[in-house]
């Protein structure tokens, strides 16, 4: 392995002086050592990628660099001089800016308000909104971010929000940009675009720290890659000298898994049928526009689309969470359009919602209560009279935990204290264990590391082989292409394309998803 060398950097180009140096950083959380004696050197004009599995400590390290956490040990050097960051203010002053893994935006505020917050241009006591606008327009123009300062964030797409986050950082004149999993929610075109921006920035001598679980992206954009495992740097490598596979091995000591559904298990029995479903907002805007499709037993129907094009509402429509303006939903030949959510779920619809914290978990409740959530009519958990069989529920939870490799002390642990990947595995477990005939899975592996990803894919494949009809919504196009038997593209609430995963590439998908092309092939 070339990577045992602490610093194996491209020698063919002159080494820039480090703008930031992290030396022997150690950061502990109650019971966890998130970072252990980490060194990191960030140079101007380069994109420095950080990779590592969930919980490896990437975000924590970056929050230390951004002054949000004080490290127990180690020092931070800015342009060679040791500096202590008492808070984001200090790091901002030192020219460090961070785009967080989870967006840090006030939805009710305008773009302008979000960007200037904390470093408002003022005239007298008043905020000088005009100055702010002008400044943002400049940045927006220079980097082609195309931001509307007066739009309310609530109404914006994830891509827009991404750009706002970047604008926030640039607005503060950062020289070092930290991007924590910025591509998790972007389509290839947007990713490419983002990478162009990054190039422009590095060209201007900015340094960029780039965190991602998508290794091919990392290889594409990074000048240097640092791999973190269990809180420590295992190596720093040159992207030109490693393959994705090797990287994955460095991260988890195993090879990079790929979603892949092997031979088709699609039967001709229609399990779920959606006909002419439409949903119109009070404003008159069409949110779902005459959507029709069938899902057969053993089929995975993938739905590609830029977030905010109606996917969430589609899930809502299937579950009966929203009142439809038109259309029917037929489960196993039975029209459930007017049935309640619980009725539909009892008919065998399982759900893995897109936002696990908000839609799938009771974070302050123990795991076993989370296991029965949504399964209160499961005879294994409740008597027909509605009495809770607690002992059964607890033991069943334990069973799922072992079966799905959910790493936690036990069924009494509070769901909130699990890492994202483990939470996701528990959810998948409880849903697949419910002997459902239909699975609606939205972003089942978002923010989940490669190890967990593989496990989840494996489960979905198995269920599919068992005749499960799956509606799969994901922003990870490889996941979609790899797992789906049929691919739909949803754009502005309408299905604009039906594609064969065998013959489609992420790029092609992207063109449909962004409305660049529209035609329904088969």
């Amino acid at each position: 392995m070339p990577s045992e060398a602490r610093e194996s950097l491209p020698l063919n180009e002159p080494l820039q002086a480090p703008v930031i140096e992290l030396r022997g950083i150690t950061k502990r959380f109650p019971g966890v050592v998130a970072n252990r004696d980490i060194d990191l050197v960030i140079r101007a004009g380069e994109v420095h990628a950080l990779v590592g599995e969930n919980g490896a400590g990437k975000s924590t390290l970056m929050k230390v660099l951004y002054g949000m956490y004080r490290p127990e040990e180690g020092e931070i050097l800015v342009n060679g001089t040791p500096t202590t960051f008492r808070g984001p203010n200090d790091s901002i002053a030192a020219g460090v800016g961070m785009v967080h893994q989870h967006f840090m935006l006030a939805d009710n505020f305008t773009v302008l308000e979000n960007i200037i917050l904390g470093s408002e241009p003022r005239s007298g006591g008043r905020i000088d909104l005009e100055a702010g606008r002008a400044r943002i327009d400049d940045i927006s123009r220079d980097y082609g971010l195309g931001l509307d300062p007066d739009a309310v964030v609530e109404d914006l797409t994830v891509a827009d929000r991404q750009r706002i986050e970047i604008a926030k950082v640039l607005f503060r004149g950062a020289r070092v940009l930290i991007l924590d999993e910025p591509t998790a929610v972007l389509v290839p075109q947007e990713v490419d675009e983002l990478f162009e921006h990054l190039r422009e920035m590095t060209a201007e001598g900015l340094a960029i720290v780039f965190i991602s679980h998508k290794l091919d992206e990392v290889l594409k954009v990074a000048d240097v890659i640092t791999v973190i495992r269990r809180g420590t740097t295992v190596s720093t490598v040159d992207p030109r000298s490693v393959t994705a596979r090797q990287l994955a091995e460095l991260m988890v000591g195993s090879e990079l898994p790929k979603p892949d559904t092997r031979d088709s298990t699609v039967t001709d029995k229609v399990q779920l049928s959606v006909a002419g479903v439409s949903l119109v907002a009070p404003s008159g805007k069409k949110i779902l526009d005459d959507i029709s499709f069938d899902v057969h037993q053993g089929e995975v129907a993938g739905f590609a689309g830029v977030e905010g094009n109606g996917q969430s509402e589609l899930v809502g429509a299937l579950l009966g969470l929203v009142k439809l303006n038109a259309g029917r939903v037929i489960v196993d030949g039975r029209d459930v359009s007017d049935e309640s959510t619980i009725a539909r779920r009892n008919l065998g619809i399982a759900v893995v919602p897109e936002d696990r914290h908000r839609q799938a978990l009771l974070l302050t409740s123990p795991l076993w209560e989370n296991r029965i959530l949504g399964h209160t009519h499961d005879p294994r958990l409740f008597t027909s009279w509605g009495w809770l069989k607690k002992r059964a529920a607890v033991s069943d939870t334990a069973r799922i935990m072992s079966g799905y490799d959910v790493r936690a002390p036990g069924p009494d642990t509070l769901a909130g204290s699990l890492s994202g990947g483990n939470q996701q595995k528990l959810i998948l477990g409880r849903e697949l264990e419910s002997e459902a005939s239909i699975l609606i899975a939205a972003h089942p592996t978002r923010g989940v590391d490669v190890g967990a990803q593989a496990a989840i894919w494996e489960r979905i494949r198995a269920a599919r082989a068992g005749g499960l009809a799956t509606v799969l919504i994901s922003a990870d196009l490889e996941e979609l292409i790899g797992l789906s038997d049929t691919l739909y593209v949803i754009y502005r609430g309408a299905l604009v394309a039906k594609l064969d995963p065998a013959s489609v590439t992420p790029q092609i998908l992207g063109t449909y998803m962004t409305g660049a092309a529209t035609e329904v092939s088969a």
Binding site: M104, F109, E113, L117, G118, E120, I127, P149, D160, G515
Partner: protein, 423 residues
Amino acid sequence: MSARTAPSAPAATHAAALRSRRNRLLLLVGVGFVALSVTRVVSGEGVLTASGTINAMVWLTLPVALAGLGGLVCERAGVVNIGLEGMMMLGVWGAGFAGWRWGPVAALIAALIGGALGGLLHALATVTFGVDHIVSGVAINLLAAGAVRFLSEITFLPATGGGPTQSPPLSGSIPTFDIPVLASGPDLLGKVESTGLPVVGDLAGILRGLLVGITPFELLGVAMFPLTAYLLWRTALGLRLRSAGENPWAAESLGVDVVRMKYLAVVWGGALAGLGGLFLVMFTGSYREGMTNGRGYIGLAAMIFGNWRPGGLAAGASLFGYADAVRLRSQNSLAVLALFIFAAIIVIVLGILWLRRGRRLPGAIFIGIGVAFLLGYIGLDSLPNEVTTLTPYIVTLVVLTVSSQNLRMPKADGLVYRKGEGH
């Protein structure tokens, strides 16, 4: 992908949006006024727009409105405050005590301090110790009720004219003045009002009500609204304060000291509630236990009614104060009954607006309600006292129900915030 719009255009559209919002506001006010005038003429109940009524309305509105404004400041910073009632009690007591000892100005200061202390306690519990906001609020209401009685027992009881439930009268006098020419001396408005002409007479009455017997304290109280709104929506401090209520973790990540913002807001809010209490004391010239009489809660209601906006809040509180003034000033239940006409007109207009927007069902319902009100007015020849004494509450309830409820409370309102624990 997002629409790439030319940066200059949206600014204009935003301005336009604000303008149309202001216009709609003006329209509503206009309709309301005309409706009131019509009602007055039809029913012949002069009290509806008599300057005396409006003047009383101001006094009855200020305490509620200021309590609500205190709540607004707190909740904009993400702290729910049902301790307003208690903070108001502390303010009232402070005003009673200091006013009795050292006069009106001292009363003002003490009211602010009293309320602010209550706010400080709330901030300590909710922000520092992360206690559930409602829990803390309830505890503060209990505590305040006991504290004021206890304080009265050790201060007022020994004094002549004082007792465990009441203070001796305020010392010194509160300067009041009328706006010359318009409301005093020639008293032009007074003359116009007495003509009882439709619209003109009513307008004169309302204006005159606002222009007579003004005290500097009232002006101060009223000034709090534009001032607070200005601070919250036009200054950096305000932006940071509101960010603590919308997304404290985002604010924190940009170096905003969220804890300080919340403390500031809650103490400031408490002080405003206390200020509200001042007007209760000044109105009757002495402190009396139970004076607040749930106004803190009503203020909260007004705040929600006003969609966490100073303007709407003021409107809601005024509505309450007006209804209260009318039922207290009217000689019999007829004036209150006359409000049925007013209600009918408003509701029917709303109904028509719905219909114009093509929404048949709500339109029909509204118009139906309106007709019902009219029939009620024609059918009934008086209202039982039980109803008239409850007018303000019933009106608030009805308005809340018919007014559309697409409220936008601060996103992180009521959430317990811990530094560095954002997700």
